[in-house]
Amino acid sequence: MTAVAFPSVEWFDVLGKLMEQQRDVHVRTGPIDCVAQFTVFEATPDGASQHIQVTFEEFSVINVEEVGEQDVTRADFVMEADLDTWQEMIESIAVGNGRPDLDHSLNRLSLPGTPIRVWSDDPLRRDLFFRFNQSLQEFVNASSEITTVFPAGR
């Protein structure tokens, strides 16, 4: 099984490739068209945050890039949380063979506004997170197909 570091552009790229391989799942779920930003607080040993924007078009990821804080407006919505939260979610998906337990879905983790906060300046663009929620969940669920490596000491 491939080992890929999280957070990294490569990790999301691999998920994009898995999306292609699991196209039938996404076709059944429906197309997804949005730019989602994954923000990981304390992503690096020096405590810096990492922002990765993933552009979805129909049943594919067409672009993954690391961006600066100033590029946030390009994203339809931002999902932000600290590294521990993302790690816990990814590990729950791995343990569940591609399905998180009841407490670790994207929607469940973000509903109270913490530990994941979903936000946008435009409520209509924020609502894309709800409109495409199943697709986003399937996207991250594919991480069970790879071995995710987290920063040392975690």
Binding site: P31, L102, D122, L124, D127, F132, N133
Partner: protein, 394 residues
């Protein structure tokens, strides 16, 4: 005490109504026999003469030569609307009948019937800039409650939790199809020039049919069953169904009501005690978010394009002042609030703890509603009748 059947006035006997309806229909079409009868005679004569009309091959007033190209995902409404001739949405409907927008219809105007029920004639009363996208999205994201929900994984929970799950499912079974009945009332009033809106509203009806279906199934699947209907819900739904205009009702239903239900569906994953419930709520949430998106931009278009914008704004505010209060009747009804609190708390004993969670949800719901109103240019922040905090909580 009178039974509920005795309290309502008896409707006319169906047989009398039927006779009346047949007579009215006959009279109407007899009255217009000179028009449709003439068309019939001409056609019969032509056939009798062994002649052909072939007038439909005349492309003088058609947009012949149009060739729309599909995008990578297929031939969407957006693709065919790139043609100016077919894709220009008129500010006012050009015909009160079913003749397609872009077809050759002018030469036949005098002989066309008028569908009296087609009364939604202005674009500002129904259009939303996202309606085409939402329609395509709705078609592509349909699901089937019979086969897409992992019913076999529905695990037994305590009786208290099953009672709460079933009451919540009863509430949702009761309220969901108002968002089917409401579009049904208006689809029949929209002429074919605005077919995109008709089609989207049809998809909304299908979504709501599926929601009613899935929650009814959920109530019956776990060893419980349907529980209590509620007068509060019925008054709320009556206020939606009898809204004075399409835009006011769309605001009340799609922005406020469906926004509330969207929050419940979001919270559904919080409430879910099984993967089955989680899947149900998540799929419903996606559908509901489309309806909210249409409602938000429809309200925006209405307020921006109304010929008397200030009067329209004030009227809508007055409508919202009362509408929010009627909606509040449902929001605070025990048949909706208490089962959520029990599911959040984990048991009836822990309902207070659950109520804290519902209180948090309340704050989120209200703020998201106000944000959507802001987006539509409808500032409700100083007039909102929904209390900032769940009544009874701090």
């Amino acid at each position: 005490m009178l039974s509920s059947l005795e309290r309502v006035q008896a409707p006319p006997r169906p047989a009398d109504l039927e006779e009346e309806a047949f007579e009215a229909w006959n009279a109407s079409f007899e009255l217009n026999r000179d028009v449709w009868g003439e068309v019939l005679e001409e056609n019969l004569d032509r056939l009798a003469r062994g002649s052909y009309s072939l007038h439909w091959t005349n492309t003088e007033f058609a947009h012949w030569g149009t060739r729309t190209k599909p995008s990578p995902r297929g031939m969407t409404f957006t693709d065919i609307n790139r043609s100016k001739a077919y894709g220009t949405i008129p500010d006012r409907a050009q015909a009160r009948n079913l003749s397609p927008r872009g077809s050759v219809r002018a030469p036949y105007e005098d002989r066309m019937p008028v569908i009296e029920e087609y009364t939604l004639l202005d674009k500002y009363e129904l259009w939303a800039d996202n309606v085409v996208t939402l329609y395509e999205e709705a078609k592509a994201r349909q699901w089937n409650s019979t086969t897409d929900i992992p019913w076999a994984e529905l695990e037994p929970v305590s009786e208290e939790l099953e009672l709460a799950a079933c009451q919540l499912a009863t509430f949702l079974t009761e309220v969901e199809f108002v968002a089917g009945d409401f579009p049904a009332r208006w689809i029949y009033k929209i002429p074919a020039d605005y077919y995109e809106v008709k089609n989207f509203l049809t998809s909304q009806m299908m979504d709501e049919a599926r929601h009613t279906e899935v929650f009814r199934k959920r109530a019956l699947a776990g060893g419980g069953g349907l529980l209590h209907a509620s007068p509060a819900f019925e008054w709320t739904m009556k206020s939606v169904l009898e809204s004075p205009t399409h835009s006011s009702g769309t605001y009340l239903l799609n922005v406020l009501g469906e926004g509330f239900v969207l929050s419940i569906f979001r919270a559904g994953e919080f409430l879910a005690k099984t993967h089955t419930d989680r899947e149900i709520f998540r799929r419903c949430m996606q559908d509901e978010a489309r309806h909210v998106a249409y409602g938000t931009l429809e309200l925006k278009a209405y307020l921006e394009n109304h010929p008397e914008p200030e009067a329209a704004m004030e009227r809508m505010h007055r409508f919202a002042d009362l509408g929010e209060n009627i909606m509040l009747t449902s929001f605070v009804d025990p048949c909706a609030l208490e089962p959520m609190a029990v599911l959040m708390g984990g048991s009836i004993k822990d309902i207070d703890e659950g109520m804290d969670g519902v209180g948090f949800l309340w704050t989120t719901l209200r703020e998201e509603y106000l944000q959507r109103c802001d987006r539509a240019g409808f500032d409700r922040r100083d007039r909102c009748q929904i209390p900032e905090n769940l009544p009874g909580s701090c």
